[in-house]
């Protein structure tokens, strides 16, 4: 199971990123634990400079803007 964190202060792009990851994981039948991190202090602790950021199993894979669908598909 993959642990996926979406980091963002709750802007529209962050919500869209979350929805996209959910949809792709469902379509590919990937087993993920999706988590939303909205607390600014925590986001900074994780070292993200631009939101939304995506962390999978502790590794930052994307930052700044909604990722392309193909990019999300490559994660699962």
């Amino acid at each position: 199971m993959k642990n996926v964190k979406v980091l963002g202060s709750g802007c529209a792009n962050c919500a869209n990123t979350l929805k996209l990851i959910e949809a792709v994981a469902l379509a590919k039948g990937a087993d993920i634990h999706l988590e939303k991190v909205e607390d600014m202090k925590q986001i900074m602790m994780l070292g993200v400079l631009t939101t939304p950021g995506v962390i999978i199993d502790g590794k930052l894979v994307h930052a700044g803007g909604v990722p392309a669908r193909a990019k999300v598909e490559s994660w699962f």
Partner: protein
């Protein structure tokens, strides 16, 4: 042609697609006046009539502004692929006040930046050793001097006005950052932000990309930005066209014109501070004010204060800044904008 096929084409031959697009763009730009003349004539209107003049203005300016906007936004989308926030931060880390402020304000124009990232960027910059004053220069320039504002000013009022806005926006960002840096206001950061300055940023390796992807990024930027702002532009030009044909030129002259009372300019800046709009949303208002005889300096100062300072932004920044620093930030930027307005009105 749909964007989907456009992207498929660029994957195969990015340069051919770019040259084709550029040729089409130039051809379209060159035929703006004949096109407008043709439309007005086809409707059986004479340009001498009020309706004819208003319509000619609309069918000439709309494609012109859209072309300029598309071109500039595309170029900016390609430039964005060269400058990531991570790279900008590395460039600014440890810079001194002065050179650092000039670099920060300039990089603020070309670094891809979404307003919802303002706080993480702010803290991330400080954490990496970018001085507070330099960080502020970046944060002030980034929203104020943006490609949409420049493209619209260029299209509607000429390149001189766009260049002036660019230059003065940079000056305000640089000077405001310098002043904030000199005031030594680091103690007015929230405690947890100061502690954060010791943390290490996460490693984030941007994947290597080629020209096909860069051109794709330009096209995607056009789709995103132009797709969002076109209704405001149509509205702005329609307002402009209406004024062009119908409203007397000196309607606003007594309140916001060059001979208006002294308080006219400060009032315009003050009214603009709590207002929040992006560059596209404010353009119809700018067009209306200018068309009715308001002075250019007063109008540009109003536009800058609406875009650069806003209540929602202050509320977000409150999470990381204590009130005295927020007040200093708003006060110094507003004063800078005011000065720009005064200089503009006095020299033009």
């Amino acid at each position: 042609m749909s964007t989907a096929t456009g992207i498929a084409v660029t994957r195969r031959a990015p340069w051919a697609w770019l040259v084709l697009g550029l040729a089409g763009w130039i051809a379209a730009y060159a035929s703006l006046t004949p096109f407008a003349d043709m439309v007005v004539a086809a409707l059986g209107l004479a340009r001498e009539t009020r309706l004819g003049e208003a319509l000619h203005f609309f069918v000439y300016d709309t494609p012109k502004v859209m072309l300029l906007l598309t071109g500039i936004v595309f170029a900016m989308g390609v430039i964005h692929t060269f400058v990531s926030p991570e790279r900008t931060r590395a460039l600014l880390s440890g810079r001194r006040l002065g050179v650092g402020n000039v670099m920060a304000a300039t990089l603020g124009i070309v670094t891809p930046f979404c307003s919802c990232s303002a706080v993480p960027l702010f803290i991330g910059f400080l954490a990496a050793g970018v001085p507070l004053g330099v960080t502020f220069s970046f944060l002030i320039a980034a929203p104020m001097v943006n490609e949409v504002a420049l493209a619209l000013l260029f299209g509607l009022f000429g390149w001189q006005v766009a260049a002036l806005y660019l230059g003065l926006g940079l000056v305000v960002a640089i000077v405001a950052g310098l002043v904030i840096g000199r005031l030594g206001m680091e103690r007015h950061l929230e405690g947890w932000v100061r502690d954060m300055q010791a943390t290490q940023p996460a490693e984030f390796e941007a994947p290597a990309i080629g020209w096909a992807e860069r051109i794709d990024a330009g096209a995607a930027h056009v789709k995103q930005i132009v797709g969002k702002v076109w209704p405001y532009i149509l509205l702005g030009i329609a307002v402009g066209a209406g004024i062009h044909g119908y409203v007397p030129e000196d309607f606003m002259a007594s309140i916001m014109g060059r001979d208006a009372p002294w308080w006219s300019l400060p009032a315009a800046v003050l009214i603009g501070v709590p207002m929040y709009s992006n560059a596209a949303g404010i353009i119809p208002v700018v067009e209306a004010l200018l068309g009715k005889g308001a002075a250019l300096g007063t109008v540009l100062a109003f536009m800058m204060s609406v875009i650069a300072l806003s209540l929602p932004e202050m509320i977000i920044l409150r999470k990381v800044l204590k009130p005295p620093l927020i007040a200093a930030f708003a006060g110094i930027v507003a004063a800078g904008i005011l000065l720009v307005g005064v200089i503009f009105n006095a020299t033009l």
